[in-house]
Amino acid sequence: MAQSSSTSPAVQPSGAQLTTTRTTVEFRAALIAMAVVALIPLGVSNPYWLGVLVVSMYFAILAGSWNLLAGYTGQFSLAPATFAMIGAYTTGLLNHYFGTPPLLGIVAAIVVAGLIGLLLGRAVMRLVGPYLALTTLSFAEIMRLVTANSIDITRGDLGLSVAGLMDSRVGWYYLFLGALVLLLLMFYLLLRSKAGLFLQAIRDDEVAARRAGVNVVFWKTAAFAISAAACGFAGALYAHFAELVTPELGLIGQTGLIVSMTVIGGMGTLAGPLVAAFLVYVMSEWLRDVGGYQLVVFAALVVIFARFFREGLWGLAKAAVQRGRQA
């Protein structure tokens, strides 16, 4: 990359040090949280709750990937669930029509979702704020309508049955956890490198970043493609876990859930969205049994967090720790 050798005001050593430290602290916190999650199957053997946790991890991957795009690069896409749907259908269709083995299908899903993300990211390059949100929202709805209406190929709303990978719930549990930790590590390494600084510089002030020599077009598109590929990966894994793909994977409500988790956890932090994905999804399963007010509660929390606690749960936790140190 030409810009990685150029020195720019955006990459002052002291600034790099500061950001690296913050990201590292968040990475460690996320690793501790994942270690706790890894221990859960020792105490919980109920397949229902293990399934709930697997779906939580699916959402944690999506929230983390969307956070890379929206929280770190400032591109507020409303299509993360759509890329999961694209990934799920890539492996689903390959498996259904050509009997492609799941592992190959998952790799294909990553590539296809990444390529579509690259194209969309390139197309929406110059759109900001509400314009970007609207364009990605229409992209999401068009993809879902096409999937639901191409009944000859996708069987529409009935969905497509897909081969499973294994029967063991615990096996799936650790497979999803492994995928989550792998992506976490990749995002951490990305954010700790100069690329992470470029992305955040673009988010904070695109014009200034360009003036400082950051290749804005390249990095914005790259963030879009990486985030899309990661969402496609999650969708493909989920397809083989559920052994069914339906257009419902791409519903705008699913994106709503991903946005909720990220905002409640803290946008632009590494640990927040991951932890919030577990909290939100497990709590919502639990609240479902006591009155079914879970979506009302979470929607209200999103509004309240966005309005009053902009750094989410991570910000609240950080403030609490700082108060503890001062006292």
């Binding site: 929206a70 400032g74 507020f76 409303l78 197309a123 929406v124 759109l127 900001v128 704020g129 509400p130 314009y131 949100a133 609207l134 364009t135 929202l137 229409s138 992209f139 709805e141 068009i142 309508l145 096409v146 209406n149 988010r203 904070d204 002030d205 705008i252 409500g253 709503g256 946005v259 909720s260 905002v263 946008m267 079914g292 007010y293 979506l295 009302v296 979470f298 929607a299 209200a300 999103v302 509004v303 966005a306 309005r307 902009r310």
Partner: protein, 298 residues
């Protein structure tokens, strides 16, 4: 033009009138705050429910329930502006960077909240409001139309005309236009920008709720009924040029006709996709819309 085409054109125009009730408010909000209100469809939903519950629950005549639905929407708009929109312009200068994201998140969250609240409080089943007139069909040459739809279209024309005139000539309408042309300049000239944005939100909420109430005998209101009308109004404000009221009205009628013909001559299944494709193409290649101004910084 054969008879069926006339029928399609007239029915498309009528659908477009209902779209216009939604889109004008959305466009005004964009003009004054430079945000897209993702909870706009929920004002429509609340209007449909308010009308139906007031008319059927309290036994109030439909003619009184209709303006009450407008009032409910306006009250909700006032509340939204007061509690959630203030940070967009009052102080909080450090939020400047994440302003667009804040607006998207908070209105998106409000939309989810209202849908699920109504779903839990009123119930997920569909509601049908009372029709204004019981005539099941009126034949006008080749055009076949229900009595309620014809009357509702007439009311919609009147309301849109009054709104457009208020924006164009009334004292507050002129102040609103001044703020959307240049916020800082308007406030230097002594215009109360906060009050202008309260008025816009009340008007926008009221109009969307009014559209929901007018259509409630037709749409079988359920909690998520607002999603598609909202998406239509996003398409319209982009086609018409974000912030332009005449543009929104023309684009509404245009979209109504395009969908009406597209559903018959192109594909019924993909009738909802035509507008979305137009929306993407316009945002990518002509973001100022048909009537908007070019090159204004957001």
């Amino acid at each position: 033009m054969s008879g069926i085409d006339v029928d399609l054109a007239v029915n498309g125009l009528i659908t477009g009138l209902f779209y216009a009730l939604m889109a004008v408010g959305l466009s005004l909000i964009f003009g004054i705050l430079r945000i897209v209100n993702f909870a706009h469809g929920e004002f429509y939903m609340v209007g449909a429910y308010a009308y139906t519950l007031i008319a059927l629950g309290l036994g109030v005549p439909a003619w009184i329930a209709l303006p009450l639905a407008f009032v409910t929407g306006a009250a909700l708009g006032w509340l939204t502006e007061r509690t959630l929109m203030r940070p967009l312009y009052a102080g909080y200068t450090s939020w400047g960077l994440m302003r667009d994201e804040y607006a998207v998140i908070v209105t998106f969250g409000l939309s989810l909240f209202l849908i699920n609240l109504v779903d839990k409080v009123v119930g997920p089943y569909a509601f049908r409001g009372p029709a204004l007139v019981e005539t099941s069909r009126v034949v006008l040459g080749p055009v076949l139309i229900s009595g309620h739809r014809l009357l509702a279209a007439g009311i919609a024309i009147a309301v849109i005309a009054i709104t457009a005139m208020l924006i164009k000539w009334s004292f507050w309408g002129q102040q609103i236009r001044a703020v959307s042309q240049n916020r800082l300049g308007a406030s230097l000239a002594g215009i109360d920008t906060a009050k202008a944005s309260v008025i816009v939100f009340m008007l926008s909420g009221g109009l969307a709720a009014f559209a929901g109430a007018l259509l409630s005998p037709v749409i079988n209101a359920s909690p998520d009924v607002g999603i598609f009308p909202a998406i239509k109004s996003y398409i319209i404000v982009v086609l018409g040029g974000m912030g332009s009221v005449p543009g929104a009205i023309v684009a509404s009628l245009l979209l109504g006709v395009i969908e009406s013909f597209g559903a018959v001559y192109l594909s019924y299944q993909y009738r909802d996709a035509f507008g979305l494709i137009l929306l993407m193409l316009f945002l990518l290649f002509r973001p100022q819309g048909l009537f908007g101004e070019k090159g204004r910084e957001v």
